[in-house]
Assembly symmetry: C5
Homo-oligomer: 156 residues x 5
Amino acid sequence: MKKIGVVDTTFARVDMGRYALDRLKACGTGFTIERRTVPGIKDLPVAVRKLFLAGADLCLVLGMPGKAEYDKVCAHEASTGLIFAGVLEAKPVVECFVFEGEANDAKSLEHLARRRAEEHAENAYALLFRPDDLTRRAGTGLRQGFEDAGAIRLAR
Amino acid sequence: MKKIGVVDTTFARVDMGRYALDRLKACGTGFTIERRTVPGIKDLPVAVRKLFLAGADLCLVLGMPGKAEYDKVCAHEASTGLIFAGVLEAKPVVECFVFEGEANDAKSLEHLARRRAEEHAENAYALLFRPDDLTRRAGTGLRQGFEDAGAIRLAR
Amino acid sequence: MKKIGVVDTTFARVDMGRYALDRLKACGTGFTIERRTVPGIKDLPVAVRKLFLAGADLCLVLGMPGKAEYDKVCAHEASTGLIFAGVLEAKPVVECFVFEGEANDAKSLEHLARRRAEEHAENAYALLFRPDDLTRRAGTGLRQGFEDAGAIRLAR
Amino acid sequence: MKKIGVVDTTFARVDMGRYALDRLKACGTGFTIERRTVPGIKDLPVAVRKLFLAGADLCLVLGMPGKAEYDKVCAHEASTGLIFAGVLEAKPVVECFVFEGEANDAKSLEHLARRRAEEHAENAYALLFRPDDLTRRAGTGLRQGFEDAGAIRLAR
Amino acid sequence: MKKIGVVDTTFARVDMGRYALDRLKACGTGFTIERRTVPGIKDLPVAVRKLFLAGADLCLVLGMPGKAEYDKVCAHEASTGLIFAGVLEAKPVVECFVFEGEANDAKSLEHLARRRAEEHAENAYALLFRPDDLTRRAGTGLRQGFEDAGAIRLAR
């Protein structure tokens, strides 16, 4: 039985954690989920390390940085810390961030956040249970939350 | 009995540490507080690690970077170090920074610094004693020091 | 017998991993290959650390960041994490990134990605099996994917 | 008996290390000083770690980055490394940098560098021997080398 | 007998490693040299860590980042990794980078790269064998590859 940690924030304006949980459960079985919520994205790396030390095999983290320049800096710091925590424990951290500026209105933002959370939940599941599915799709231009870019296929 | 470390700076122009201490004590019981003061925000990560090694379960750090471009770089370096210290010890570091440029006059700056310090003190308390309160408010657009952004709720 | 880890992404729009594998095998013998695929470049550092802990002597990682400003930040975070993972294990990580903006059309991008993947595969092989080949070419302005810049040779 | 490490550079154009040493000695007793000089600010973090491993309780580092954009990057890298070294050893690193561009002429630069070195020496002494002095001045807007900004005090 | 590691790249357009080796040998005796060559500057940190683990007491690394914005990012990542490797092992890493954009033509670039490599070789030697020479020149505005800036000396 695997354990998946899911961490989200009170800063985000969409309950991305809930969408991720629902999609994870729909993906299959063989795992339990531990959910944690922290104030902001900069609190995610510590929560991840704690979950890893408590037995999690993978963490899915979700956050929604704001529009300001400073929010981009915070996201950069959070990402750096998440990679550090993952490398330290040698366990995957699937980062799902949606920037408020990525959508033009509240409805699109909600839609984007939901879709990205769900698709990253599928990535998390694949990393743990279906690594060959990922390799089969290597270099195919997959995107999360937006239309896939697709593979560049040349007539040879 | 938990131990909370509170670290602030002589650089800040508002006694944010005092506001944080007062609010922490008002939040509840079950913890002791260790307060430290360092010259500037770049000294915070070491103070945090020292407090963790001395038994602190969480650190609340408070700082007020100046308006110059260089101050933003310092804040970035401090934040990176704080995340590193937190991940290393697997203990939460609640960062409360107020940039001097966030308010237009001294009075607003004092008000903002106080309110943010108090609200981050509440976050610190919740992380240690009421994690479910945070999860209940996941994705609801909470802010510290400013009006909450609120959750995006769609009519479906 | 050496072990080489090859990690690529589903985000990339060209199957760079395949080109790298083929070229590696054409370089010589004396090694086995473990291939992993992760969603995006920020997932590479953890995959690398895992492969190192599982016995890989070198990892070759391939990715294709997009055109947006944010993609550059992601590439920076990934690179920082890859260097961290390499230093931690004291094992080489050969990074092969192609930015979507480096080529003007799909065909050129495919060509660039293939050539760079192949030339970095050769670098990986040289690092493990022919370090003297690298020293012989020290300071000669080699490039991967583009024309070599060449050594500056002065008439003295 | 405490040990204080003082590290400066041959790159700096003012002998900040000398000013720091003199002021440290004037602050009080109970400590010995180890001085090291490295070529540039990016060599400071290693020197600090070495001094810590050799028994130093605190390091005071002094440097003078140039005016170019690249010098700012070097200062950022040095600062990041200094924070890393400090957190690793859980010992304070007092960083005293003066950017050449902070003053308009050589005389002002010399004056600024001297004053900042002396005031940071006082901070170093306080961190080791008089932590309560720092807490007493928490949030009072202290600056090093320039006029203090002062505390924001509101009529209530 | 000390051991000095020298690492350069096939990316550089000048054989800086050779210039460094020649100058090192001219500096004195009491050390052996291990030379390694890697593809690019981002491969330097791992090579350094490997040399340290194999007994090197100091590493001198040489690289020549290109003119593009991306090359500056790579140099920043390499420098960060080099500082990390040095702090981890508590051994000096003397970084000698020449940016292609620092000189206007090939001849000047070759001259600059040679002179900087030689002067950093002297720094490396001094760090290991003549630390007092460095302290004697503290705050005197030394530069490598360019004219020294010199100390600011005030009439008092």
